[in-house]
């Protein structure tokens, strides 16, 4: 798998002294700019369904999505944004599942996260600076 967002891609693909040399290299000592977002989802019954039926199918269309099993949670990284529609999750799970039910198991985000109606969105956009904080009402 040659995904730029892969768990051990880039500098982290190296090890030992070559990793340290690259990590401390002057090129890597200033602020990087990333187009990605990161999401960590706690492993639970509902999250497994979200991963299998909502995240994995998106990977076919979006090759920048990386998914990694980290023991207690799923680590997801992608360019741009990740949207989880909880109306759809409700259908899949066969029970009411609001965006706030999803948030029970969203362990972390890197990027700007928000709720929009019954959708959870994690985006690389700078909400409030580049774009507005949307509301469905």
């Amino acid at each position: 798998m040659n995904n730029i967002n892969g768990y051990n891609s880039g500098t982290n693909a190296l090890s030992g002294q070559s990793f340290i040399d690259e990590f401390l290299d002057e090129r890597n000592s200033a602020l990087p700019t990333s187009e990605s977002v990161v999401l960590a989802l706690m492993k639970t019954e509902e999250i497994e369904a979200v991963i299998d039926e909502m995240i994995r199918p998106q990977m076919e269309d979006n090759p920048t999505i990386a998914l990694e099993d980290r023991g207690g949670y799923w680590w997801i990284k992608a360019n741009g944004k990740i949207v989880i529609d909880c109306d759809e999750a409700t259908e899949i799970l066969g029970k009411k599942y609001t965006v706030y039910d999803l948030l029970v198991n969203v362990s972390t985000t890197v990027g700007r996260a928000m709720t929009l109606g019954n959708q959870f969105i994690i985006t690389n956009e700078l909400l409030g600076l580049e774009t507005k904080v949307d509301s469905v009402y």
């Binding site: 990793f19 990333s34 977002v37 980290r70 023991g71 948030l103 362990s107 972390t108 909400l127 409030g128």
Partner: protein, 529 residues
Amino acid sequence: MGNNTAVKQALKANPVPSSVDPQEVHKWLQDFTWDFKSKTAKYPTKYDMDVNTREQFKLTAKEYARMESSKEERQYGTLLDGLDRLDAGNKVHPKWGEVMKLVANFLETGEYGAISGSALLWDTAQSPEQRNGYLAQVIDEIRHVNQTAYVNYYYGKHYYDPAGHTNMRQLRAINPLYPGVKRAFGEGFLAGDAVESSINLQLVAEACFTNPLIVSLTEWAAANGDEITPTVFLSIETDELRHMANGYQTIVSIMNNPETMKYLQTDLDNAFWTQHKFLTPFVGVALEYGSKYKVEPWVKSWNRWVYEDWAGIWLGRLQQFGVKSPKCLPDAKKDAVWAHHDLALLALALWPLTGIRMELPDQQAMEWFEANYPGWYNHYGKIYDEWRAAGFEDPKSGFCGALWLMERGHGIFVDHASGLPFCPSLAKSSVNARFAEYNGKRYSFSEPHGERQWLLEPERYEFQNFFEQFEGWELSDLVKAAGGVRSDGKTLMAQPHLRDTDMWTLDDLKRINLTIPDPMKILNWQPIQ
């Protein structure tokens, strides 16, 4: 995907008129406030915060409670039913079970500081949505204090060595690492300009360092047999994303005024350094020295979570609005490689004061360290081998790493900016020791970034450090006074090994014959050149 669109459309066309969605209430929050003559923050900020700032998660109090209640049911259900039946407390590798005594309690300190830090922001922010978000954060932080405490509480009930889990709130008083937590996590979150606190708490500590501290730490926990910590910590972190959003919106709320924006870079640089200075070495020690089974080198986790993702996705994207790379970043990266090894050396040298059982790296660990941090053995490993041979573990040996260091001229000082101990002559991290005299008192600093904060505002860092507090105390007396003795009245809670035999007692500690010195007085202290 999307095959239920018809259902959704039908629902939207005929909304049930007998219920109210929480977001329908949230949209009115901005109208809840009014203007009046004396309306101002009691803790005003030097920044100009926009009253129109929004909140990204749009929670009402009731919906918040419903969501959180669900988290609590799942978390305590797992702990009290599932993990209880599995005897989870005794499935943990003891190295890890011990280090969690410190990790859970030190994180508790941060969560407690964050209660007040969020209350400060709730006072300062004038946007009702922001206030609503900050109030939720205050309550969240109470949850997190309860949760981190519950990890100690649960371990105290179920793990085979409850000592230290039950009373770390007392033992920490003599732990030389603890003032480091207080600086970064305690007061760094709440004593100062509200926006400065927000940058420390939310933009740096939460958005950056909680990811390795709370999320990736759970991988190490699970690898080492601990399913208690992931159950709690991953649930803690589900609140952090709202806090990160609070912090981010605080930055958004000040970005439109170039007059006050000029403070941002300095506050960001200071906050990053302050938080890094404690968290980078501490988390590294906990993961790599508190585990038997390794997951990945700490420096790689740091590269992923701190440098590539946090710096890249948060700060990097803000560069277009004038945010620059923190000047201390190259030094922080050097620390990511070495600072935890420096701190581990001191923690092992000072083991009787930590309140936990720890052991020197074994052969397997030493090989792992050398493979991932080439040069580690020649610098640290050799010392550990020498300590082992000198009777580090043996209660009859009278050996103490701290004395060994001092006898060889390796002074241990307290960095007055971070509150952490450092050893200038043995450090491989970015240590560049500085000494200064001010108002007749001597101060030591491990590097210029912290020293600069002190030089600008010395009155903000007036406190007695560990050596000043306890100078003249005999070691065993100090440990006893802090509650560090088991219920037999003599065996220490802290131990330099993990066995149930050959455990050190107060008498063994007395044999070391160590009276706490103040190194600023005895080690040929020289003024800065």
